[in-house]
């Protein structure tokens, strides 16, 4: 009797456990939608990561979209996916993929989508696209105009390889307008485009993950281009190379300057000492005079070479800085900040106005020595621009969407890295959503 009771209890336990397991293994249908390859190349990595973590889902077949994202407009793709007649689908979109999901919902509230996760999506459009995509096919983009200027500067700055970053950026931005089809496609993401203006808020639950590159040096484009070309979104290749190149040039030029300065200490005094000690010896004094003149001439040449090195090193750095600065100004609205810093006294600027160069030299030297107290710091007004946090392509406000069930900030993550769970804020956000952290609508069972 006791054996029967135990058997019954065991059988019941097995039934309950099996039922629970079966319930746990119910899969969710998920539509993973990437954006175009230029801005969303590695979306498959997010899917792979979800599988590796044991989440169970059916993949909504998104072919042929995956292979030809820009062949149709965003509304056309939305209609295409709506026509498949699915139900209870969780849409997960990166970049323009998220706009397709939103358009699916806007076209038909009964599209079959029951929730959507919008990861690095231009929900309010993309200001940057105005710089990358010109109004007409025969016009250069603003970005291209700047790149052309920088390429000219680079040609002048001898030996400024710049790790070929400028060329990589040029290749990338040219691709946005490689054909009229791509130009038209990306112009859909202008903040003023009819698509963006008419989307409205989704009628189903949605969550937002927004990327924030958040690097203090502002070298966001340098990182972004490296991520674009890398398998796992690593962003250091160009930065490391560039830092090496610039650091080396600047260090070498600075060390050279120091040696040249020492030559200034010893050179003239030594030469003139030789003249003084050679007086009375006709043969020696001629040699001493020509030696002194030669020392002065060599010193001038060395200084000119050095100044050229310093200027070229700076111009090489300037190209890189300009590229990143312009990128930040193009991606994000910015505000002017006026501030005051303190600097050492600087020689009188008006010395340079004298028509006699020798008087200019005299004036500057007097100003340098007597015009300033060495320890005195002077107030110096500075103006600079601050920008809104962004992921390299989209600002915070462009990615955010009012009314989201939950919003996640992915710090230190750029637009391309938003596709990888290996970047902790991304992996954490997806797992929180799949585990029910923002509500049942986003759950994907394990």
């Amino acid at each position: 009797m006791r054996s029967i009771t135990l058997l019954s209890a065991f059988t019941m336990a097995v039934i309950v456990l099996t039922g629970t397991l079966a319930q746990g293994q119910v899969s969710r249908e998920v539509l993973w939608l990437e954006g175009p390859g230029l801005t969303s190349l590695s979306w498959i990595r997010a899917e792979e990561a979800a599988k590796r973590r044991g989440y169970k889902y059916f993949r909504f077949d998104s072919n042929p979209y995956d292979w030809n994202t820009t062949s149709q407009s965003i509304p056309e793709w939305a209609e295409y996916f709506n026509s498949k007649g699915r139900t209870d689908v969780l849409g997960i979109g990166h970049d323009a993929g998220g706009l397709i999901l939103r358009k699916m919902n806007a076209l038909s509230p009964n599209s079959g989508l029951s929730a959507m996760i919008l990861d690095g999506v231009p929900n309010q459009g993309s200001r940057l696209m105005r710089s990358l995509v010109p109004n007409a096919p025969d016009l250069p983009s603003e970005a291209q105009v700047l790149i052309n200027k920088l390429l000219d500067l680079k040609t002048q700055a001898q030996g400024c390889n710049g790790c070929r970053m400028l060329e990589a950026v040029q290749r990338w931005i040219n691709s946005f307008i490689a054909s009229e089809r791509t130009r038209t496609y990306y112009s859909q993401m202008w903040p003023t485009s009819p698509l963006i203006q008419d989307l409205g808020l989704p009628t189903i639950p949605y969550a937002v993950i927004w990327g924030n590159e958040d690097e203090s040096d502002g070298l966001i484009l340098t990182r972004l281009v490296a991520s674009w070309g890398s398998v796992y979104g690593q962003d250091t290749e160009y930065l490391d190379c560039y830092r090496r190149e610039i650091a080396q040039r600047v260090r070498d030029a600075s060390d050279h300057a120091l040696v040249a300065l020492m030559q200034g200490v010893a050179g003239l005094a030594g030469s003139l000492a030789k003249i003084s000690t050679s007086k009375g010896d006709v043969g020696k004094i001629g040699e001493a005079i020509s030696g002194a003149i030669s020392t002065v001439a060599n010193g001038i040449r060395a200084r000119q070479t050095l100044d050229k090195e310093l200027r070229e090193a700076f111009e090489c750095e300037l190209i890189h800085q300009a590229l990143n600065a312009q990128w930040n100004l193009a991606v994000s609205p910015y505000s002017l900040v006026q501030d005051t810093i303190f600097i050492p006294c600087i020689p009188c600027d008006n010395c340079a106005d004298d028509p006699d160069p020798q008087v200019v030299g005299y004036c500057f030297s007097v100003c340098t020595a007597y015009g300033c107290q060495p320890l005195e710091l002077l107030a110096y007004p500075v103006e600079y621009y601050t920008f809104e946090p962004h992921d390299g392509l989209l600002t915070r406000s462009e990615q955010l969407l009012q009314g989201a069930a939950k919003t996640y900030e992915a710090r230190k993550v750029n637009h391309f890295q938003e596709q990888f769970w290996e970047y902790t804020p991304i992996g954490n956000a997806f797992q929180d959503l799949f585990n029910g952290g923002a509500g049942a609508a986003f759950v994907v069972p394990k």
Partner: protein, 281 residues
């Protein structure tokens, strides 16, 4: 045979170079207060280096585009430098990046912040530069054209040898020697008791002006003009003492360039304030 002899020479040079490097490093490293007998010249100092970028004419500031204005952020770096030149003409320059007393800082999300050094220290031995991190580990080694510096170093040593052979020049002897140069093709203009200048023309129509401090008995500046008579670069050095025993006080360097976006002529100036300066010759 040809290849073999080059290889042998290379090995010989390499050993010699390595030997010199070891000697120099042991002589100069971390030896700020006690100059080594191995260094024929030793200079040590701390410096704050401030860099300013602004239009040459202040009235042009209004012409700057937003991009060009963003690229004018001042910066300040601190460095601790040791220069050692031995009697053979080998040199070592060790530069440690330190926090300046009055750092210039900008808030997060500022456009155009200049790169900060990623290395804690660099050591340049005859053109081979080794970079170290905070843990004093080698993180990078770079090779530069050391020969371009070597000529200068040899020139320094030759000049010092001349100086050591003669008694110290009086002010009058120094001025007289300058006048001798002036009479032989290097025209000198005396502006006052302290400053003299000389204008030297170059074959391409450009010219330079050197500034001589007669009290310090050394060249303390150079201005370079292009063939159109426009000032293209200059430097000025403020010193105390009499060469070669001088103290550097301040070093001001300027070059001009065209702004990337607005074509405004810009002035790039670097002001180095020396502290704890020591020069042992």
């Amino acid at each position: 045979m040809y290849g073999y002899s080059i290889s042998s020479k290379g090995v010989g040079n390499g050993i010699g170079h390595l030997f010199a490097l070891v000697l120099l490093l042991s002589a100069c490293r971390d030896n700020v207060t006690n100059p080594s007998t191995q260094c024929r010249v030793q200079m040590t100092y701390d410096a704050e280096v401030t860099t300013l970028i602004r239009p040459e004419k202040s009235s042009d500031a209004a012409l700057l585009s937003d991009l060009d204005r963003a690229l004018t952020l001042p910066k300040r770096e601190g460095e601790r430098v040791q220069l050692c030149i031995d009697a053979e003409g080998n040199y070592t320059i060790s530069t440690e990046y330190i926090t300046p007393e009055n750092p210039i800082e900008y808030p997060a999300y500022t456009v155009g912040v200049w790169l900060k050094p990623r290395y804690k220290r660099s050591v340049n031995v005859n053109g081979e530069i080794t970079y170290y991190n905070e843990a004093n580990e080698v993180v990078e080694v770079g090779y530069t054209d050391g020969d371009s510096h070597s000529g200068l170093v040899i020139g320094i040593l030759n000049s010092l040898n001349e100086l050591s052979k003669s008694a110290a020049l009086t002010d009058r002897e120094f001025a007289s020697a300058l006048d001798t140069l002036s009479a032989h093709g290097l025209p000198i203009t005396h502006h006052d008791d302290k400053i003299a200048t000389s204008r030297i023309s170059h074959a391409d129509g450009s010219f330079s002006v050197i500034v001589i401090d007669k009290k310090a008995r050394m060249q303390v500046g150079q201005l370079d003009y292009d063939a159109n008579g426009a000032l293209s670069t200059f430097y000025l050095l403020e010193v105390e003492g009499v060469a070669p025993k001088v103290l550097f006080k301040r070093w001001h360097r300027v070059f001009f360039f065209n702004a990337v976006d607005s074509n405004v002529r810009m002035k790039h100036e670097t002001i180095t304030k020396f502290k704890h300066f020591s020069l042992t010759i």
